[in-house]
Each structure stands twice: as C-alpha cells, then as structure tokens.
C-alpha cells in the first residue's frame, strides 16, 4: 500500500445536493406531466370530438357552454399550464442540444421563456374572463342558458 495515492473516504449516502439537482427535477417533471397529459388530452379529445354529435357539434355555443362551467375552466387551465411547461421544458433541452453559440442560446432561451409566459397568461385570461353571452348577438348562435339572462 505504500506509495498509493491518498483517497478521501467515499461518500456514504445520498446527499442534499444530489437530491436537489435541477436536471433531475426537470427529468421527473417531463415524465409526470407526460402521464397526466395523456389522461387530460384523451378526455379533451373524447368530449369534444367523439361524444355527442362528434366534430359537428363544435361551434361558438359548444365552446361557450364548456367555458361557462368551472369544471372545464379548471380542466383546461391544468391542460394549458402542464402542456406549456412540458413543451417549454422540452424545447429548453433542444436549445441546449443544438445552440452552441452562447448569444444564440441566450436569445432562444429568452424568446422561449417570454412566449411561454405570454401564452399561459393569454390562455388563462381567455379561460376565466370568457363571456358566453356577448350582448347584441344572434341568440341562435349562443348557448341555450343565455336566454335566462
């Protein structure tokens, strides 16, 4: 053993810094949100395109009717936020892969962040401030509950 290099004692257990690495959380998020998105997208497509009259049912009244219901508001909000963060996180990885020049990478990363925030805010505004019965419209185009107002 003489002359062998001095080695520091090996680490014993998982350390705090090991658990907290952002790369790992990003990886886990991609998988968890992916699984949730399968369910959300399946329900979304079934309700809109398969149940009832299928694709023929989609008009202003159908969309307005759904967005007047808090369940669908929160359902769509979850789908919007998860899909946007999932998609943006995926695009972030792709930028890291392909953009080698630092300023190009920084520009793309900021463009991605800004567009993600803008789309999430716009989408949320639409979901929660949507007026299903705009005044002065042809009643035949509006959802049935508008007559009561």
């Amino acid at each position: 053993m003489t002359g062998a290099p001095e080695l520091k004692a090996p680490k014993k257990a998982v350390s705090h810094s090991t658990l907290g690495r952002a790369q790992r959380w990003s990886w886990i998020f991609q998988r968890v949100s992916g699984v949730l998105l399968i369910g959300l997208i399946a329900v979304h497509l079934t309700v809109n395109l398969v149940m009832g009259d299928g694709i023929n049912q989609i008009d202003f009244a159908f969309v307005a009717g759904k967005l007047a219901n808090p369940f669908w508001q929160w359902f769509d909000f979850t789908m919007l936020v998860l899909a946007m963060i999932h998609g943006a996180n995926g695009m972030r990885m792709i930028i890291n892969d392909y953009a080698q020049t630092p300023w190009i990478a920084a520009t793309l990363h900021w463009a991605l962040r800004i567009s993600t925030v803008v789309i999430v805010i716009l989408g949320t505004l639409v979901l929660f401030t949507f007026d299903p019965c705009p005044a002065g419209s042809d009643p035949s185009l509006l959802p049935s509950f508008c007559e009561d107002i």
């Binding site: 257990a13 790369q23 990886w27 892969d97």
Partner: protein
C-alpha cells in the same frame, strides 16, 4: 489414415465475389495535390469470400491497393475495441461484421465513428471519450484496511453488474448517441456503463461519488432514451437499461 501433408488446399471450391467498399477518407496532410484536411469518398473493389469480415476487406485494400488507408485494429477478434467504425450507417466492429451480412451487392459504406475529431481516414481522436471514462473514477474505491485475501461476493451480488463488465471501450455506443453528437458536453453512454459497473458492485464504496458526478449537468439526465447505444454495442450490453438503473438509483436514493 491421415491425409498427406502436401495435399493441395482446395479453397477454390469456395466461391469469391467482387465487393465494393466506399470509404470516407480524411487527409490531414494534403497528399497527391489535395488540400490538407480534405474529406472525400473513395471506392475500392476487392475479391472476397462471403465469410470475410469488413476488417479483412480493409486489410486487402491497405495491403494490396492503397497503403495510405489508415484505420485502427489490434486483436481482430472483437476483444480490444480498436476498430469501431460506421459501416452502412451503423456503428460496428469491423472485425465482427461479415460481408455477407451487409448485402455485398451494393457498395459497403465505411465511415469513422461520429462525434469525435477525425485524425486520418477511419482514425478518430478517442481522448474526449477516455476523459469522460476517467471522470467517473473507474477503479475500486474502499475504506478500511486492505484484506489479506480477495474480497468475496455472492453470485447474486455479482450478477447485478455482470452486463456492464463486458464493455471493451470501443466507443460504438457513445458515438451513436444523438445527444453526444450535438451536445459537446454529454459524458456519453459508455461513461455511464463504466460507472454502473462500480456503482452496483457490492464491494465498492464510491457509489455516491460517482452518482454525484453522473447527476451533474452533463450526466445521465441528458439521456433521452433513444436506444441507439443498446443497438450499437458489439458486446450486446443493455446500455439503455444500465443508464435507467443509474437514474433510478438517483431518484430513489437506493442502490
């Protein structure tokens, strides 16, 4: 009765065929009036048996047609890992690839492995690849006094990392990985295979040192489960599975 020693050897009975090889060459010196650093495809035709390997074909070219063709090989039997190259767009060992398995009716395309700097023809600079391997500390790490005898291990404990002991460091996996091609920093699959061999060895105590390194920016989380590495490995190592086991250990804290 034994056959007389001077009986004619009848290899003529085995039919030969004409095989075309298209080799991607790189000339760093600029011979024959080329610009230094020229990259070009060159075609060669050889007479070979179906059971000859791509390495035999390269030998025929180098020994009989063009001595300037440069490629690495040592053992010629799939042991040393010197001759990984991109043959018909897949990473393989030239010494383990039979011509008959490659559709010899068409030209066989031979290129250097991708993602490492080419030095000459099929020879690449392996140093970035070995540097990643060194970084995961591929040696036994223990504490306490050195035992008098060998460190014992149950067959079950040995079985856990059996697959990753087979690695011959040929770089076929790492240079088939799309993340390694584009991302200049990723360790690549081989370094994770090399780390797996020690992380899951019950006699080794450096597992968290290695896991910490692989948890880093350029570590296992860069892997996108493309499975190219598993398909490329000439030793049949389930590379993607080994990478997933490392991810699992990092996610659960258990080895």
């Amino acid at each position: 009765m034994t056959a007389p020693a001077d009986a004619p050897v009848t290899t003529d009975a085995i039919p030969t065929m004409t095989v075309t090889l298209k080799i991607l060459r790189f000339d760093p010196d600029g011979l024959d009036g080329r610009e230094p650093g020229t990259e070009y495809w060159e075609e060669f035709q050889i007479e070979a048996h179906a059971t000859d390997r791509v390495l035999d074909a390269l030998h025929m070219i180098k020994w009989e047609q063009d001595g300037t063709l440069a490629f690495r090989r040592s053992c010629a039997h799939g042991v040393c890992g010197s001759d990984a190259m991109r043959i018909n767009a897949r990473n393989r060992l030239a010494c383990k690839t039979l011509l008959k398995d490659l559709n010899p009716a068409k030209p066989i395309m031979v290129e250097p492995i991708k993602g490492l700097p080419v030095e000459k023809d099929l020879i690449v600079d392996m140093e970035p690849f070995f540097a990643s391997y060194r970084e995961i500390m591929p040696f036994l790490m223990t504490s306490g006094p050195t035992p008098e005898r060998e460190r014992l291990q149950s067959p079950e404990d040995r079985e856990r990392y059996d697959d990753t002991t087979k690695c011959i460091l040929c770089a076929a996996c790492t240079t088939s990985c799309p993340v390694f091609w584009t991302d200049g920093q990723y360790f690549g699959p081989q370094a994770i295979v090399g780390a797996h061999r020690f992380i899951f060895d019950s006699r080794d105590e450096g597992e968290w040192d290695r896991l910490e390194i692989l948890n880093d920016k350029a570590g296992v989380w860069k892997c996108r489960t493309a499975f190219n590495c598993t398909e490329a490995c000439p030793r049949g190592i389930e590379v993607t599975k080994a990478i997933s086991e490392v991810k699992h250990a990092l996610n659960t804290g258990e080895i």
